[in-house]
Structures are given as C-alpha cells and as structure tokens.
C-alpha cells in the first residue's frame, strides 16, 4: 500500500508524515507539488507547514499547485486523503471540506500536547479507533480555529462528520471544539492536530497518532 505525502514549498511536517507511514508499515511516497499527478499512490497526505508561506491566506495558494488538480480529482473519486493542519487548510480552500480555519482566539501560536476525543471511528482514517476514545497528540497552529456557519455545523453534527473534538481545553477557539471533519463520502479527513508527531514514545507524547495511518492501511487493504 503506497501512501503519498505532498511537499509544497514551505511544507514542514512532510518528513514526519512519511516517517509515520513507514512506522505503520505502509510504503511512503514523497510527492512534489509541481508534479502533474499523484501517480500510483493509494492514499494522499497533505502535511503541516506553511505552504507558499501561507501568503494571502493559509492554504489559498497551495490549493492551486499543479498536483492539487489530481488530488482533488482522486479525492472526488474516493481516494483516501488526509490533510493535517496546513493540509486541512488546503482541503478547506479546495472546497473538499466545509468551513475554514482562522486565527486562534488567543491570537498566539500554540504548541502543546492535546487530548482529543475520536467522535467518528468509521472513516477511512479513523477505523483503528473506537468512537469516544480519548487520545493525546500534539497540536501546534497559529490559525487553527475551525469555523463554519450554524447550518453547516448542525449538518456536520447530524451526519456524524465531526471526526475528532478537543477534550479538555479548546486550544484555538474552534467552534464546537471541532478538531477534525470528514467529507460526505468518508474518505477525505481534515485534522488540525498532528498525529504524525505521536508515533514514537521517544519523540512524541504518545503513540496515539499511529491509528490514523493504520486505519487507512487496513481500509485500503480490506477494500
């Protein structure tokens, strides 16, 4: 199973995402933003960072990178896509996910170990977890506040499309403590916290993040 990780100019956690794929026994495939397509990968991760410097608006330029046309097509065709932090912002800008991510309510960058509650364990990226399970992964963002209008939020809740919620203190003012959402089809997940930084006790607060990567490996193998 081949999982591609896209590197945009300004991507920072691409190496961590590739490592997380390897540690989950997947084949990690580096993808370059300038490539015309995602080649023969089975899933795609858009990693954290500041793609194109986050100029204009976070993710607003990355969304037009050459490779994104292929990512968007593949996502619409059902390929599993996970956007982490900046990748989540890119997915929102690409209209693959509803809502937007805005400046943290405290107006400061925040990096800390965060408790999360997995709300939906039936997506391609969360099937290794159980609904209601609490995990600890790092959160680190300056513009991680998830916002959407009330009808959209209600719809996300009604359709069980909130994938993960902040437990304990909300680090960035996200509406309804939303840390991650999934598209209608259940294959595209955007997540503000960083599971790729919680894959080894030595370098992270836990290994709780591995579940996102093992989920997609199992789901694609099982498909």
């Amino acid at each position: 199973m081949r999982i591609g990780v896209v590197t945009f100019p300004g991507s920072l956690d691409d190496g961590d995402a590739l490592r997380a794929v390897r540690l989950s026994a997947g084949e990690a495939v580096p993808l370059w933003h300038g490539e015309p397509d995602v080649r023969d990968v089975d899933a795609v991760v858009l990693p954290g960072g500041f793609a194109y410097g986050d100029y204009l608006r976070c993710g607003a330029i990355a969304r037009f990178a050459p490779i994104m046309e292929s990512v968007i097509d593949a996502a619409r065709g059902g390929m599993p896509v996970l956007g982490i932090c900046n990748g989540f912002q890119v997915l929102c800008e690409a209209h693959l996910l509803p809502g937007a991510l805005v400046r943290n309510d405290r107006r400061k960058f925040v990096c800390r170990d965060q408790r999360l509650r997995i709300e939906n364990a039936r997506t391609l990226w969360t099937s290794s977890y159980t609904a209601g399970q609490e995990i600890v992964v790092p959160v680190k963002n300056g513009e991680g506040g998830y916002v959407a209008d009330e009808p959209t939020l209600d719809r996300l809740e009604a359709e069980r499309r909130v994938v993960a919620r902040y437990a304990g203190e909300n680090p960035n003012g996200s509406y309804r403590d939303i840390a991650g959402v999934v598209n209608e089809r259940g294959n595209v997940v955007g997540l503000m916290p960083h599971p790729e930084h919680a894959v080894d006790e030595l370098t992270g607060p836990s290994t709780d993040g591995l579940g996102f990567f093992t989920s997609v490996l199992e789901s694609v193998v099982g498909a």
């Binding site: 100019p9 300004g10 920072l12 956690d13 190496g15 961590d16 490592r19 954290g48 960072g49 500041f50 194109y52 410097g53 986050d54 100029y55 405290r106 400061k108 960058f109 925040v110 990096c111 800390r112 790092p138 680190k140 300056g142 960083h194 790729e196 930084h197 080894d200 030595l202 370098t203 992270g204």
Partner: protein, 757 residues
C-alpha cells in the same frame, strides 16, 4: 545623482566625508586614507564603516578573545573540524557525523522592533549554520527583559516571543530550550540571543572562501532592499540623505524585515546545491550585507573579486551603490561557483523559486573591485576591510564600587524560620518572575517539527536525535547569570559555564564544546571593560579545565541605558553528545516509591541568589563557589548512572535551589514527594541555597544499592532526601506540606496573568 568613483575620489581629495556620522573615529578615517593612498569613495567609506564597526570587527574585544583561540582545538571525541573564525564551529560527534552550533545576539533591533528584531535574529544564526554545509535541526533562545510588571515589558516581550516563534516555526526548526530572565537593567536594553544547531556528515563541511580565478560569484535568495542599512553601525541613513541631497530617501529603519518562507526555500535549495557539489565557497549575508560577504569571501580565498553592482536585484530601484553595499536585507546567500556548474546551480534555484544572479567573479589580483554603471566605485585590498580593522586595547579597571558590592553580604538578611515561613517562601519563589513556569513563552514554539526532538523545554537541555538507526543524538543548553557575574565576573562566567555543562550532563549526555554570547555595556567604560576581560578570562580558564573548546560565538557591547550598563551577561551554550537517545534522562518524578537523592554538597551560599533577589531585592556578597572538577565528577557520575539505568529522572539545581527543583519535579507529572532535611543541614539552607555542582535524581526502588555504591566508589556526596508518592502533596517533613494544586496555581499562572491568556 552623481556617483563617487575612484577617479573622482582621487581628483577631489579634500571633499568632506561623513565618516563621523557613520561611526568611524578620526584616526580610523585617516587609516583608511592611508591604506588607499587617497580618500575613500562613498561606497568604500560605507564598506569600511560597517566592517570596522564594533559588531563586525570585534575591535574592543579581540585582544581578550584571543584566549579562546589558545584553548585546545579538540574534544573528547576528536579534533574540531572548524573553529573560531568560520561562520560557526564544527564539532565531530562520532559515526561520521559533525555538528555545528553558534549563538548570536540581536539585542538592539529587538528593542526597536521586537517582532522583526527577534525574528531576524533567528534567521541570521540559521544562515550561519547553513553556510557551513549543515542542515539546521534546532534553535534555542536566551532572553532577558526588564521587570516583568514594567509597562514596556508588555510591548517588548510578547513581540520578541512571537518573533522567535514566528520565524522558527515557519522554518520548521524545533525550538528546544533557552531561558527567560527579568531584571531592571534590561528594561531599555533587552537581550535576544539565538542559538542554532545543524548536522552534517564530515565530508559535507564547507568553508567560506572565494578561490579559483574565473569562478563565478552568485548572489541568491531575496532581493536587496533598503532595510537594515547601518544595522551594524550607526546613523547611516541620515548621512546618505545629506550627502546626495535627496530628502526623498528619508530615514530608513535600521531593523531588517524577515521572510521565513524565503529562508525555508533558501535552506532546501542550498542543501541541494551542496549535495550536488556545486558550491566552491559560500557565505551568508547578515550584518553588513554585501560589504561583509564580498570582503570576507575574497580575503579567505586566493584571489580577488570583481562585482558588478548593477546586477544585484533590487526591491527598490532608487538605492545608491553605498546603500546596496550596506543593506542588511535578509534571506540572501553568496556562493562561489565554477563556471561549468553555473547552469545546474541556476536550475536548482529555479526548482525552489529562488532568484539567483551572477554578480561577479574571482579575479587574480588581490583586490576587491566593485563596478556601478560602468565605473569603478570600490577598489580595495579585501583583507583591510574584513580582517585588518582597528584593534583597541581599551583601558579597564575594577570599578570602585566593587568592594562595597562584595562587602554587602547576604548573611545579615532576615531568613524565614519555622515551617510556615519556609512554606510561604517556597510558594513565593515558585511564583516569582524568574522562577515561574515558562510555558506561556514556550507554548508558542514548535518543539515537535522534524520528529527528532527527544527532550525540549522545560527539560534542562534540549536533546535531538541525529541518527534514527543508532540513536546518536546531541544535547544543548544555554545559561547565564548576570547577578553572579556582577558580583564576580570571573566566577560568574564560570558559573554560567558550569550550569550549562551540568544541564547537558543531567540528560545523560557527555558535554563536548562551548559557544558563547557575551553581552556587556559600553567598552568605553573601564569598569565594563574590566567585567568583560574578567568574564572572558574566567570562561577561557573554565573551558580549559573542563577540556572543552570554544568553537565560536558573538560579542554584543554598548548594552546600556544612559550611563547604566546591563548586568554583565555572558551566555554560555554547551553542546553534548548522547550515545543513544533512548537512554536520555528527563526531569520530573513519575513513579511512586522511587527514592530521591540530592547529589553534591550544599553550603550556606546566598550571594546573588534568587531568594535574596525576590525576598529582599538584595544583590551583594560573593556568588556560589565554583569547582569545575566537582562539576566534572558530577557529570561523569550522571553519565554512568544513566548508562546503567540507575536513575529515572535528574534535575539540575541552580536558581532557587532545591526548593525550586522539587517544585518543578513534582508538578511535571503531578506526583507528590515526601522529603526530609538531612541532619547536618539547616532547613532554609537545604531548600534555597544555590551551591553549584548539584542535582536531584530519582532512583528506582531496588536500584538504591547499586546507585549508592556508584556514588561511594567515586566519593561523590549524595544524600537520600525523600521518596516519590502519589499523595498529591509536596511535604518537607517536620516543616510544611503544600498541596500540588496550590503549588501549581502559584507556579504556572504568573506569565499568563501578566501578558494575557
């Protein structure tokens, strides 16, 4: 606009020049005329003025810094691969890996414009590391501010912290440690010292030089703008405004503006250029911009250099040649490239969307010439600009007030007696400006990016894995104590060294090498110069005793407000190697039943202590005694205890003494502790003395015998002082107990209350 060419300069020898406004002294200007055999052109004057500035030339400090060059140029692992004089020193850490690290100041810009000043401080030191051929893998920041509750600290601190974080986070470099200290002397002169560390294979080392006649000189990265002109000297912009008569250029801020995204591209692009062997010589552009890069590259090579200034891409087309030469625009690098490699070089730059222009070439003659609009505006021997600047033997003298300061011993200060008073003191200290939790600051820094951070703040040292297979890693810590250094500059510098060394050692690492940032007041004040000379002497002697070279660093002088200098603040960074990061030791009690030991001897030492400062606002007497041999014994003991798995946590004892170390150790994982005072110690001294060469460790139940025999075999002082429990209380038997919740509220809320959540 007329251009001041060398022909014009020869023809008009008596034209008045603004050398004084550019910060040059009359004898310095005379010397330039002497070197050139004519008056300098305005472009040459600009180059000499910035390169002969205190910041670039070390003219006041050089005679003292020679002591560092006389130290052994090797560590316990091997010879230095590069030492003082290069962009950054390079240390062999084994397995074919080399590490380069350096600390640098960006103090004055951070007061004028806190965010950009601090951000570009990080950017500058990162480029220094990159220029050695290394991949930057981590940063640290050592900060000093005025009083926590002073109104201006509200402006400066949040901006500096956001700038350090904003730049480092956006570059994808984990911030793994540093310090934040408050003192009134830093009120209008904050200190922002940034450290960067990078890793390379031995064969990837690159040195700054321009060799090989015909090789091309390529400027790449950001375009050159009017920012940061005169950043290293003084009053530059006003002078140019006057000299060319155009009011339009107005005053330009001397603070640079950073673009971390550009720097990220520059890092990736440069590392690819290195890996394909396309770089014959390289230099980053920092202080003094093109003046520095061209003259330093040309001096270090075997030829001269010719530069066509018109080819420098500009953000502002109205810039005059002298402004282009002085601009400190960020995110620029200069490479010397063989003609056959230029095409591939340009191709890689295009891949990364990095602009690159051939602006000159290496020439045979030992001259640096610069051409502008077809005419020669600079024609100088490059060494006279870069390396043969003035050297001063500044007068220095022990200040008259030093005796009174030393005589003002803290022994007469009222001490808390009885459990309640000790309890109240411990809580008050834990909540004080210099001891309270730094999480408000460090939560703004990404410590996870790159996935190799094994320890980061609040641990005593940052530990970064550099080889995933073998687990080889490095540890780093920075420390400095201005109060100790004011009481005794020689000992104070050694105490800073001892603390950084100890902070590295408590993680289980072997300390190897030193970088330093020497922050002092005006060198024209003989008392300040005495502090400086004594601190350098102390540091050099200390490094010799510990067998560590000083691989590089930075001097920052003129840190004062009016006639009042800052506390003399040598910041010492120590680099260590960790054989296998899987065996590293964090601090913090985790397991109930583990035994707490105090290592080292505790004496009645309160001169310059945090207790005297917090409770009495007192500074006087002598700082704690330094014994570097004992420091080494402690480091060696911890190394072996770590290797054999005999300790599960270790914490350095320094500011605030044992009381503070216990506070931090219980709060980390919410574990309680029951502690007893050894029979031979007074409870107050036990809790608050700042005697050096001490640590507190926890030993797993069942390993006590092995641990104590390790200590006894080395005759190292050790005392069993307590046990970890899960009762939710820090108890000092027979004295007091404090519920962890109460202690946590005191320790963790202070900065958020001051600066807003």
């Amino acid at each position: 606009m007329t251009v001041d060419t060398i022909e014009n300069a020869a023809k008009t020898p008596d034209d008045p020049q603004p050398w004084a406004e550019l910060g040059l002294k009359d004898d310095e200007y005379a010397r330039i005329r002497d070197i050139l055999g004519r008056r300098p052109t305005s472009s040459e004057l600009a180059m000499y003025s910035v390169m002969w500035s205190e910041h670039c030339s070390y003219k006041s400090s050089k005679v003292h810094l020679r002591r560092f060059g006389e130290l052994q140029q090797e560590t316990s692992v091997g010879k230095l691969l590069a030492g003082i004089g290069e962009n950054a020193g390079v240390v062999d850490v084994g397995n074919g890996y080399a590490v380069t690290f350096k600390i640098e100041s960006h103090n004055h810009p951070s007061y004028v414009e806190p965010y950009q000043g601090a951000a570009t401080g990080v950017g500058g030191i990162v480029r220094d590391i990159l220029a050695m051929g290394a991949r930057p893998v981590g940063v640290m920041d050592s900060l000093r501010f005025g009083p926590l509750d002073a109104p201006d600290t509200q402006r400066v601190l949040p901006g500096v912290v956001a700038g350090v974080g904003g730049y480092g986070n956006c570059l994808g470099l984990p911030n793994v440690g540093g310090e934040v200290v408050f003192d009134p002397t830093y009120a209008r002169n904050p200190l922002v010292n940034a450290l960067c560390v990078g890793v390379m294979r031995h064969e990837q080392l690159h040195l700054a030089k321009a060799s090989g006649v015909g090789n091309q000189v390529i400027l790449y990265g950001a375009r050159t703008g009017g920012d940061g002109i005169g950043g290293v000297s003084v009053l530059a912009s006003e002078t140019f405004e006057d000299s060319d008569g155009s009011a339009g250029s107005s005053r330009r801020p001397s603070v640079q503006v950073g673009d971390p995204f550009m720097e990220k591209l520059l890092i990736e692009c440069t590392l690819q250029l290195f890996s394909e062997g396309l770089i014959a010589g390289i230099q980053d552009l920092g202080g003094a911009g093109l003046s520095c890069a061209t003259s330093e590259l040309a001096s270090a090579g075997d030829g001269g250099m010719h530069v066509v200034l018109d080819r420098v891409p500009l953000r502002d087309s109205t810039l005059a040649p002298e402004e282009i030469l002085m601009s400190e625009s960020q995110e620029r690098m200069m490479a010397v490239v063989e003609p056959a490699s230029v095409e591939r070089f340009m191709e890689i730059c295009r891949t990364w969307d990095v602009r690159a222009d051939v602006i000159g070439e290496v020439t045979p003659a030992g001259r640096l010439t610069v051409e502008w609009r077809g005419e020669t505006v600079v024609d100088v021997p490059p060494r006279t600009v870069a390396h043969e600047g003035p050297v001063y033997q500044r007068p220095y003298e022990r200040p008259a007030w030093q005796d009174d300061l030393e005589a003002a011993s803290p022994s007469s200060l009222a001490r808390p007696s009885g459990g309640d008073a000790l309890r109240e003191t411990l809580i008050r200290m834990a909540a004080s400006a210099n001891l309270c939790s730094r999480s408000w600051v460090t939560d703004q820094y990404d410590r996870y990016v790159l996935g190799n951070t094994v320890l980061a703040q609040p641990d005593d040292a940052g530990v970064i894995r550099i080889d995933e297979e073998s687990g080889l890693g490095i540890a780093m810590a920075t420390d400095g104590n201005g109060r100790y250094t004011k009481l005794d500059p020689y000992s104070g510098a050694q105490l800073a060294l001892a603390e950084a060394y100890r902070n590295v050692a408590v993680t289980g690492a072997r300390p190897l090498a030193v970088t330093d940032c020497l922050n002092f007041g005006s060198p024209e004040d003989p008392g300040v110069m005495w502090q400086f000379a004594e601190a350098v002497r102390g540091l050099a002697d200390g490094c010799q005793q510990l067998g560590m070279p000083v691989t590089g660093g930075n001097v920052s002088l003129y840190n004062q407000t009016g006639d009042t200098p800052i506390l003399p603040t040598p910041i010492v960074g120590v680099l260590g190697v960790v054989d296998d990061v899987r065996s590293r030791i964090p601090y913090g009690f985790r397991e109930p039943g583990q035994i707490i030991y105090l290592l080292g001897a505790t004496r009645d030492e309160f001169g310059g202590s945090e207790w005297a400062h917090v409770v009495h606002g007192h500074l006087g007497g002598a700082p704690p005694a330094v014994d570097l041999d004992v420091e080494r014994e402690l480091a060696d003991l911890l190394y072996h205890a770590c290797r054999d798995g005999l300790v599960t946590s270790a914490h350095d004892l320094s500011d605030g003494g044992l009381g503070q170390a216990l506070t931090e150790s219980v709060l980390r994982h919410g574990m309680g502790a029951r502690v007893w005072v050894p029979d031979d110690l007074d409870p107050f001294v036990f809790l608050f003395s700042e005697s050096s060469a001490r640590a507190v460790v926890s030993v797993p139940h069942g390993e006590e015998v092995r641990f104590t025999s390790l200590c006894e075999g080395r005759r190292f002082p050790h005392a069993r002082i307590g046990v970890v429990d899960d009762a939710g209380v820090l108890e000092v038997q027979g004295q007091f107990s404090i519920p962890l919740d109460e202690l946590r509220r005191a320790h963790e809320s202070r900065l958020a209350q001051t600066f807003g959540d």
